[in-house]
Amino acid sequence: MTTPQNLDRFSRGEEIGVDVASIEREFAALWRAAGQTDERAPERKPVTRACLANLVTWVEEESTVPRVKEAFDTLVLSVPARVLVLRPEASAPGQKEFESWISANCILAPGGGKLVCSEEVTLVARGRGVEHFGPVVRALLVPNVPTMIYAADAPQRAFAALQPLLKLCDRLIVDTAEVVQGGQLKAISRLIPNAPSTVDLGWLTLASFRTTLASVFDTDEAVNALKTLSEVRLFAPKARMANRLLFLGWLSERLGWGPPKRCSTSEAVARGLPAQGSALLTVEAPHGPVFLRIDQVVPDEVEPQAPTILELVTKSGLVKLTRGRGAMLTVESFGQPPRVVALDPPSLGERIARGMGPRARDPIFDRAWPRALAMWEAVERP
């Protein structure tokens, strides 16, 4: 119900519990009230309600909620969207099967004076209540703007309820940067074939890494060196391994490698690999075999932010990229003086905004993704 108290809470971005059938009516009433000047509250700014897209967000883990909510606060200025947060939960005695809340994400436009706001609806379904997601989402989508489904964490628990929603969307947004277990990666891989198109926020974070590696190969000599590539070594924190394997998937796609094969333990040991936490794969490149040494670094108290190191061994020399602290990348190539490049990792809000953008879809990702999956499977294989 629209009360002055509700209006203030709404403008501050607080959630207001409403009946699912009256969500649109409540929004309309609150916006009307927010748009009116109030002589008793002269500090209140005029409000512009904006919507360029529907962003249906699937969140299974409680721990994911604050992270994505914070990201939505910053999203409003770049891609104001009606956000529908879908939270499937286990059924609990005494709790309703389906509940809904509405809130606003507002930000003061540059120059001040005007508050730009977008709408957010949170829908919690418990137990069999997930069956309601489809019909409710269909009713709440803003017409004539694109619809994106953002799987904020890998959907495993209520996977069956998410599948039909994919038919409603123009784009699926996943985030392999947050994947830490094989099961999560598998869940994402099951979604992708059913979506009209997919954007991976983890792929977007790799853009500066890819640009930097590309900058090493801008001369004919360097390109020729790739034809003598014999080994690629990847040292990466375990928690980032899925994302880093996507990088190797990209290398594989770009360099025309065949499917990866896991080398025997004796071969790995012969090449100096430790028995634990490492894998040695081999791929067939157009010029011959290439060994892939993959070391999962487990962070410890001394080095909680374990670095990622990528080495490409060629006959012309070594290319080494080291991502250390402070998101700086040190590039050493073919014996030249090292140079430092800033990676500027985007925040989650920035990544979501980019993922919703017109240039986010990348056919190279579509080709790199299955190769990355194959590598993950080869690495995970005992």
Binding site: G111, V116, T212, A214, S215, D218, Q336
Partner: protein, 505 residues
């Protein structure tokens, strides 16, 4: 651009990455190097848009030991990407060098060549070279001649040698012609990059995108729908200690010959056959060639020159132009110019383009405003006639606004003007690159679209020099306007003769 054989480049958003190169800055001890050029190169490197780039400063003063430190100060203060990251700076500055030399000494160019070869070897950079002439125009010819004599600017070969020249490019038609001749003795036109930093501004470039990427505007962009066009380039500043320079230049040379005529061309040109350097520049040239020449009588009727007197700008008392340092107390140099320009072509016949540019106006603003014709019949009463104006703001607060009439809520059919606004800052979030960043990058990529071609320079001087000749023949003094106002009343009168008025930007 980098070799297409690099398999990793495909699909990257930053596909326009130049080949590794060295930028040599002549006049490196000057303000522009510290305030604009090196900060722009740093920001490009910071954004991973340069793969490898070395910088060599060239000037007469012995700055070997302090040059890097001075550049760090400049970057800290002026770079778009701040604060400077220490590790990043260490890596970037390791490729900054300084070469002491005099512009007129050939042996200093011979030793510069040796320095360049060393720097390139050290950093594994091929001999791609950009020579930036941040020097007084009187040195342009000498520097280019010596570059040629030292074998630093070969016309052919696997690597490039390009020369960027700062404005002013000549002071009149004859001097520009002489300078062009001097350059052509050593360089091909495709090696010359005449810089006009206005063209590096995103909103200036957006004029083309706005016109040619949106189907709804171009059909109305002609004399059937447009009543007139106003182009304003106003500055709140005065001559700021450059009285001596401004006395020689005046606002017509300083702003109109280059910046405003460029903007006029972009607003009035036909669609190019392709978005490449020569196609765009061909169309811009056609606009200049279609300008109705200014004879002395036209100068009298269609040009207003003015000079500011003391007044108040942005709550600060300011002196009149003749009281400024370095200015002749009897000076007739114009600080304001208002022009009524006609483009005699099929599209614009009968549509006047009003240009004004001035110092000491109420605020700094550059914009193009398209004033559309009114409806043939007013259905809602004579008071409800709204002129639709499409304004493209180039600076500051870059964006586009469209004025149209809307019904006032209530029982009466009253119409009031409202405005629909697009603002760069709030729509894209990301900060646009500085003009110098874009232009330096384009030069490294060999893209001359945003640079001024020699024939355009000559045409623009032909037009502007005719106005100067007219003023000489007519004699008399410029009209005056109080600092902090929108110009002399004579300029208002020029528009009011045809029932129009200057817009308040």
């Amino acid at each position: 651009m980098v070799d297409a054989a690099n398999p990793f480049r495909e699909g990257l958003t930053q596909e326009r990455i130049p080949e590794p190169c060295t930028v040599v800055i002549f006049g490196a001890s000057g303000d522009l190097t510290k305030r604009k050029l090196v900060p722009a190169l740093y920001s490009l490197a910071r954004d991973r848009m340069l793969s490898r780039c070395a910088i060599v400063g060239f000037a007469r003063r012995p700055l070997e030991n302090v040059f890097r430190q001075q550049m760090l100060e400049g970057v800290n203060e002026h770079a778009r990407r701040r604060p400077v990251h220490p590790e990043m700076w260490e890596s970037f500055s390791s490729r900054i060098h300084y070469h002491q030399g005099a512009f007129d000494q050939l042996e200093d160019y011979v030793s510069l060549k040796r320095t360049l070869e060393e720097v390139e070897k050290q950093n594994n950079i091929p001999p791609n070279r950009v020579f930036y002439l941040s020097t007084p125009p009187s040195s342009f010819g000498t520097i280019v001649r010596n570059l040629g004599a030292a074998g630093l600017v070969p016309k052919d070969g696997p690597h490039y040698a390009r020369v960027i020249i700062e404005k002013p490019f000549g002071v009149d038609y004859e001097s520009a012609q002489k300078l062009n001749r001097e350059l052509y003795e050593v360089l091909d036109e495709n090696q010359i990059y005449r810089i006009d930093h206005y063209l590096g501004k995103e909103t200036v470039q957006n004029l083309l995108v706005f016109r040619f990427a949106n189907a709804i505007f171009e059909p109305m962009w002609n004399n059937r729908y447009v009543d007139h066009v106003q182009i304003t380039g106003a500055e709140a500043l005065g001559v700021e200690g450059r009285g001596g320079y401004f006395e020689e230049a005046g606002i017509l040379r300083d702003m109109v010959q280059n910046h405003l005529l460029q903007v006029l061309c972009l607003a009035a040109m036909e669609p190019p056959v392709a978005f490449d350097a020569d196609s765009v520049r061909d169309e811009k040239l056609k606009v200049l060639r279609a300008l109705r020449p200014m004879k002395t009588a036209d100068v009298k009727n269609h040009v207003v020159r003015g000079q500011y007197t003391s007044g108040s700008v942005l709550a600060k008392r300011v002196p009149g132009y003749r009281e400024e340092g370095g200015v002749d107390p009897q000076s007739n140099t114009e600080t304001y110019v208002g022009l009524e320009i006609h483009i005699d072509n099929w599209r614009w016949s009968g549509v006047p383009f009003y240009l004004r540019s001035a110092k000491r106006m109420p605020k700094r603003v550059t914009e193009v405003a398209i004033h559309f014709k009114a409806n043939p019949l007013s259905l809602f009463g004579s008071e409800s006639v709204v002129q639709n104006i499409l304004a493209v703001r180039i600076q500051p607060d870059e964006g586009i606004s469209l004025n149209f009439g809307s019904k006032v809520p209530g029982p009466a059919a009253a119409v009031a003007p409202v405005s629909m606004e697009f603002r760069y800052a709030s729509s894209f979030g990301a900060e646009p690159p500085e003009a110098y960043e874009r232009l330096l990058l384009d030069c490294m990529l060999g893209d001359g679209t945003l640079f001024t071609r020699g024939d355009w320079v000559m045409e623009s001087w032909k037009y502007v020099s005719a106005i100067h000749r007219g003023w000489e023949e007519l004699g008399g003094e410029p009209a005056t306007y109080e600092a902090g106002t929108w110009g002399p009343s004579e300029s208002e009168a020029m528009l009011s003769r045809s029932g129009r008025a200057w817009r308040r930007p």
